[in-house]
Symmetry: C2
Subunit: 269 residues, 2 copies
């Protein structure tokens, strides 16, 4: 898309990040949502989450939350500016600690770097082929595993492992051997008509669709093992861009009845 | 410093990173070294390590390693260009996967973003006051814990915890409760004249000074517990900018004999 919004202004050159920005040490948070005909879906939930995530990381945002309203206005202005008022787009908001001196010390005064960008919406996906990542575990001992930060290195490794195996996605286990999530989505299993998903405390990102599905349905939050995956009737991935997607194959096992649940369009608002 | 080197050119505007650069998902590696009177200390070891780190992360570098020689030339040219030929500076090389489409899929073709920058050398440090981080664990289940990637989120949390406690540094444990490292350095303990340091497999970054010290001295690599810290005669942090620094205080315990070992200047080459 032509225009990017950053700290109050529209820009056309995408080189907006300083080499001294703490973004380059994973010191920031982001959120991605679907835009349908100019409407950012679940915008309030995304703003609320990124605001909470920023607090957990200790980012220097204003305390009165007035910036949240300004951010919503900026989202709408950017959609207008890009003429993205028809069709589906993907909108990402990123907040970093901003430009700081070298080193990890918390800077006394920093203006956060806040930017918003639009990208084409992802294409329709077939039932996914997934593997269980062997190369990397998710860190249940970090509160950052429950929020959406810029630290995606472990997921990038897992995704490469999936691609090398000819699969679309990887499921990450934590260091205790419990199931956590996919590289870009939360995980649910169906068994005898009962849906289950791992608790956040196992090192699970607090996904918006995960949250909505738990609110709407009778979902059990419990730690899941590899055996739970292998004996499941169905496995589903959720994320804000795609809603609920069935896993068609996990390793050697295929899931015959890979229909997505009734509220697969939960991501459309 | 005035000039930054990026992909073959000198720049004066520090806004060199695209909002679409995979750096913003932790998809890159870096290394930091001391420059003394224009000499980048242990440059070959740093280039060798960042090259190996880039391979582990699967970054799209040329296979013939010719870029390593070009990078060394760029380092020297940048020092000249900035007139940093007298005194001490800190030099950082960063390599990211480069600009890619949204999402975590490995891009088929990307030119890596490679940049080098200089910053003032850190000031002299007193014997450090450290704590054991309670807020976050290090991920022993990720190979990225052994290399120097852009994913410093967990260490940023630990560092904030240290600062909030009035301390300089935090020691991170892994999920198994073993000692790993400081937020910006490796950890050694002295006990009855014997030095020990945790093995990389506990989730320890492969530091250059750690490696040199192990080569030079009779250091035991073994898993360390909190009790090992509490009963140690001395605790030391190593990093490439500061060499070997004594910990003067850990929580409530002070270390009377906090003299640094004889080769404290190992970082000076």
């Amino acid at each position: 898309m032509t225009f990017i919004w950053k700290n109050g202004r529209f820009h056309t050159d995408e080189h907006l990040i300083s080499v001294c920005d703490r973004a380059l040490r994973g010191d920031g948070v982001f959120t991605t949502m679907l835009c349908v005909d100019g409407m950012p879906i679940h915008l309030n939930l995304h703003i609320e989450r990124i605001s909470n995530n920023a607090k957990i990381l200790g980012l220097p945002l204003l305390k009165d939350n007035k910036w949240e309203g300004e951010l919503k206005n900026a989202v709408k202005a950017l959609i207008e500016k890009n003429n993205a008022t028809k069709g589906q787009y993907c909108l990402t908001i990123t907040i970093t600690r901003g430009i700081a001196e070298r080193g990890l010390a918390t800077p006394l005064q920093t203006e956060p770097t806040i930017f918003i960008r639009l990208a084409p919406a992802p294409e329709h996906m077939p039932p996914l082929h997934a593997i269980i990542a062997q190369s990397v575990r998710r860190n249940e001992g970090s509160p950052l595993s429950q929020i959406k930060t810029l630290n995606y290195g472990d997921h990038i490794l897992a995704r490469q492992e999936a691609e090398n195996a000819g699969a679309h996605e990887a499921i990450l286990l934590n260091n205790a051997g419990h199931v956590t999530c996919f590289t870009v989505g939360n995980l649910f299993i169906a068994n005898n008509g009962q849906l289950s998903t791992p608790p956040l405390s196992d090192g699970v990102m607090d996904g918006i669709i995960r949250r909505l599905w738990i609110e709407r349905g009778s979902i059990t939050e419990r730690s899941l093992t590899v055996t739970d995956l292998e004996t499941a009737d169905g496995i589903f991935m959720t994320n804000s861009l795609r809603g609920i997607i069935a896993i068609g194959r996990l390793g050697d096992k295929t899931f015959g009845n890979a229909d997505t649940p009734f509220d697969a369009d939960i991501h459309l608002g």
